[in-house]
């Protein structure tokens, strides 16, 4: 599959719309959990080569926290929510009520909790949109280099594709100075198939 096949504006719009629906549901869940207002941006959609995904999204060597949910069915792919180091500390402090080291198991469990809610809600919104033909995997979390964490997702979706279509939505909780983003990367093959079927 080539780059130009994915540059189709119809495909890009469809993914943007999906990301919008998914993120909308996800941040509503986060907002309820935090008791705070959560902002989201309009999703950006990129078509990038496998080798450039990490640098398109950020600094591959930067320490971040992330939660990941892979999904299968009529649509295959993965969704991931990522918070930078500072935002992770603030997120943990807001929810636990104390400053914790990121290596503290408690910090990981907070990331897990928040990440699970965000990505699981995101994927279930996709499933709902498509009529429950998408099955999510159990969520997984990690606190490490961005590039290293992305490996998990890219190994899944990059198996049969050199170019990927990536939707990214920024999330922020302004009054707590917390910033993160949510990405969705379906396998290009399954995404083209499903968009064709829906007649979007």
């Amino acid at each position: 599959m080539e780059d130009k096949d994915l540059q189709d504006p119809l495909l890009m719009d469809a993914l943007k719309e999906l990301a919008n629906i998914g993120t909308g549901h996800a941040v509503t869940a986060l907002s309820q959990m935090m008791g705070k207002f959560v902002n989201i941006t309009v999703p950006e959609v990129y078509v990038v080569s496998l080798g450039k995904v990490a640098e398109t999204l950020g600094d591959a060597g930067e320490e971040v926290s992330a939660a990941y949910v892979g999904y299968h069915g009529e649509l295959d792919g993965g969704a991931m929510v990522v918070f930078d180091r500072d935002s992770t500390s603030k997120l943990v402090a807001t929810l636990v009520g104390a400053e914790l080291d990121l290596q503290d198991p408690m910090a990981a469990s907070v990331v897990q909790e928040v990440g699970n809610i965000l990505v699981a809600t995101f994927v279930s919104a996709l499933a709902q949109f498509f009529g429950n033909i998408i099955y999510p995997e159990p969520p997984a979390v990690a606190i490490d280099m961005l590039g290293a964490i992305l490996n998990v997702l890219l190994a899944e979706v990059g198996q049969h594709a050199d170019y990927l279509i990536v939707a990214k939505t920024n999330i922020s909780i302004e009054d707590a100075n917390i910033r993160g983003w949510l990405i969705d990367i379906p396998t290009p093959q399954s995404f083209q198939k499903i968009v064709g079927k829906l007649g979007l």
Partner: protein, 159 residues
């Protein structure tokens, strides 16, 4: 400052004389680096998956079974001598809290596939920094022949 070239996923980089080649944020991926000290030619490939299974790709470096021979070809084309090559590998970690994906422990399988591909070419691994649960940045300085691995928690070490 010397030039740093990044080997992204599936990418293969070969250079000579001065500069650094770096694979940033290796998780389950494995980077294979080769160096000929006599010519100061260095190369690196950033492998994502073990086997190509005959798949067509613009990125031969994506798979261990195609990427390792591809890197060797580029090294030899540049003028490196196969019997002088120093080969070091890094990566193949398992990062996530649960084993996700359809591959099982993909990091471990990548390391095994890289070792097999190297031994098929008659190449020995001189040093490695593989497995575990941490992401790595692997850098080869082509001017000095120094290989380093950096992690978030463990700092910088030479391998």
């Amino acid at each position: 400052m010397s030039r740093v070239v990044h080997a992204g996923i599936g990418e293969t980089v070969v250079m000579q004389g001065v500069g650094q080649i770096s694979a940033i944020g290796l998780g389950s991926c494995v980077a294979v680096a080769m160096y000929d000290p006599s010519q100061r030619i260095g190369g690196m490939v950033h492998v994502l998956l073990p086997e190509s299974r005959g798949q067509k790709t613009e990125l031969p470096g994506k798979f261990a079974d195609t990427g390792v021979p591809y890197l060797l070809d580029l090294m030899l084309e540049k003028g490196a001598f196969v019997n002088r090559l120093v080969v070091k590998i890094a990566g193949g970690a398992s990062l996530m809290s649960v084993n996700v994906g359809s591959f099982g422990d993909i990091g471990k399988r990548n390391v095994e596939a890289v070792r097999t591909a190297l031994s098929n070419l008659g190449l020995m691994v001189t040093a490695e920094d593989v497995g575990g649960h941490e992401g790595r940045t692997f850098t080869l300085d082509v001017g000095t022949g120094v290989f380093t691995v950096k992690t978030v928690r463990g700092g910088l070490r030479q391998i």
